[in-house]
């Protein structure tokens, strides 16, 4: 099966800092890939380069047969980036719900404004996706009335409503109180089981182990190891992977 995401030779500099070094990564359709690594290893930047929230310094990003080269300029490049963003849904660590809109409007906003869908149809899709994350009953609330876990579930529904080919999750549970993490992970697990292709940057080793088809380990801007969760968690090759997993096993967080 051909890859739905293909990152080739991706380089990223922040000023003089070399944060991603010649990254190659492929994700197959319906695959769930978790990226783990210490803070500052470049895992979030890698994810954000895929939908061009960060402009890559060099390399190629391919999403569902759309090929975008780094350093592009002009209208054609902007159009390609726009199409890539339509194919990818993104969930942020800080939720980033729109505070001036109700839950329902948060979810209809993308389809109505970006896709030009008529409102009735958008509401139908929004309600279906809110139901999917178990929050249809909150559709008329404003985000400030929701708990962190509920906010993140709405954010997932908002991304799903655009009917993306791939979902990108950027540390979706890192801003949550411990007791709220479970509900978000459960929704993510459900979405994965429904066959969504997912690329998840996470510190949740339990989730990676249980849900991921493949785990990618990053350190110092490089992919140091990738394999099935089985292999990564039972017999990691790289000592840095082993150190990372041991730290979580002993209950420490970073």
């Amino acid at each position: 099966m051909s890859s739905i995401i293909k990152v080739t030779g991706l380089d990223k500099y922040f000023g003089r800092l070399h944060v991603l070094k010649k990254i190659d990564l492929e994700v197959k359709p319906m695959e769930v890939v978790c990226i783990i690594g210490r803070s500052g290893s470049g895992k979030s930047t890698l994810l954000r380069c895929i939908n061009f929230l960060e402009e890559p310094s060099a390399g190629t990003i391919e999403v569902d047969k759309l090929v975008v080269k780094a350093g592009g300029r002009g209208k054609e490049h902007r159009q390609l980036v726009h199409e890539v963003r339509l194919k990818t849904g993104m969930v942020f660590q800080e939720f980033n719900l729109f505070p001036h809109m109700s839950v329902l409007d948060n979810v209809t906003e993308g389809p109505v404004i970006v896709k030009g869908m008529d409102r009735a149809k958008a509401v139908q899709i929004a309600e279906m996706n809110l139901d999917r994350v178990g929050l249809l009953f909150k559709k008329d609330e404003f985000p400030n009335r929701l708990s962190g876990g509920q906010k993140q579930r709405v954010a997932i529904a908002r991304a799903l409503a655009m009917e993306p080919k791939v979902m990108l999750f950027d540390e979706p549970t890192s801003a949550l109180d411990p007791e709220l993490i479970g509900e978000v992970l459960n929704v993510m697990k459900k979405v994965a089981q429904e066959g969504m292709t997912m690329l998840v940057v996470t510190h949740e080793m339990g989730f990676a182990r249980e849900v991921a088809d493949r785990v990618v380990v990053m350190a110092d801007g490089e992919i140091i190891e990738e394999n099935t969760p089985e292999v990564i968690f039972k017999s990691p090759k790289d000592p840095r992977t082993k150190a990372l997993i041991d730290r979580y096993r002993s209950g420490g967080h970073e």
Binding site: H82, M90, E94, L97, P99, S102, E109, K115
Partner: protein, 282 residues
């Protein structure tokens, strides 16, 4: 707020007693402040009541205002209220548009646009408002551009307040977090859609209360427009009758009361607006 809805029979908890004591204290403070205001106001009225009071050999003479003058000219001075409100309203509307444009320019990465915005703000803030009003009224005719007093006033006040208020809008725009823009971009919104749908609505809500304050300040600064001699607002009318009959004391006190009452009403409206906004969906 009814935090403690309980059956009356139930014994009061420690927390409730403490809460009630605190509420009582706050109420008492407000009552005492109100009473003191009343006393100060009565004293001020007494000061201008024109009474002679003799206590034994000690006599006090308060300021005597010409009641006839006040009665005769009340209608004339009050007639300026509408003009004052009209100028303030037109000026604040003009200023709001300019301030928003200047704030957007200030955040632009386009050098000429950024320069235009900062140049405008610097020029206006670096010169007196009084001069600006005269400039539009007296200096422009030399170039063949003749503006009516009201129009010159509105242009000058609008330009002036626009420059100061651009800071409010800039703060409003920067108050919208980077994450909001990223979320909009990730959904596929264009920069224009992101600005219109996500950033501006949040920034404007942030900017409404300070804009209200500017409007209140504007109602008072509109008095400067009287200097043109052709705008018959409160201040112009007060000085006109005051000078003509040498009753400046009465005329200016009357105008002051009008301005003050107007400010009190607008401030009350402003705090209600603020309360409504903060109750909203933040």
């Amino acid at each position: 707020m009814n935090l403690f809805q309980r059956e009356p029979a139930e014994p009061k908890s420690q927390a409730e007693l403490l809460y009630q004591a605190q509420q009582r204290k706050e109420r008492q403070f407000r009552t005492n402040v109100g009473l003191s205001w009343g006393i100060l106001l009565l004293f001020l009225i007494f000061l201008f009541s024109g009474n002679d009071i003799a206590i034994g050999s000690f006599s006090i003479k308060t300021i005597n205002l010409d009641q006839n003058f006040i009665k005769e000219n009340m209608g004339f001075i009050a007639g300026g209220l509408w003009e004052t409100i009209k100028i303030s309203f037109l000026s604040i509307a003009f200023a709001t548009v300019l301030a928003l444009l200047a704030a957007l320019g200030r955040l632009s990465t386009n050098p000429p646009i950024y320069a235009l915005s900062t140049f405008y703000v610097s020029l206006i803030r670096g010169t007196p408002l009084y001069l600006q009003i005269f400039f539009f009224f007296l200096a422009l005719p030399q170039l063949g551009i003749v503006l009516s007093g009201t129009l010159a006033g509105v242009v000058a006040l609008g330009l002036n307040y626009g420059a100061y208020m651009s800071e409010i809008f800039r703060a409003g725009l920067s108050s919208v977090g980077k994450g909001q823009r990223e979320a909009a971009m990730a959904l596929g919104m264009t920069p224009r859609q992101t600005m219109q749908r996500i950033v501006l609505p949040q920034a404007l809500r942030f900017a409404i209360p300070p804009t209200g304050n500017e409007f209140i300040a504007m109602t008072k600064d509109s008095a400067l427009v009287a200097a043109t001699g052709f705008v018959h607002e409160l201040m112009w009318r007060a000085t006109k009758v005051g000078r003509a009959q040498f009753h400046n004391l009465e005329a200016l006190i009357m105008a002051a009361i009008f301005y003050w009452v107007m400010t009190l009403i607008l401030t009350a409206l402003q705090s209600r607006l603020e309360a409504t906004l903060s109750k909203g969906d933040r």
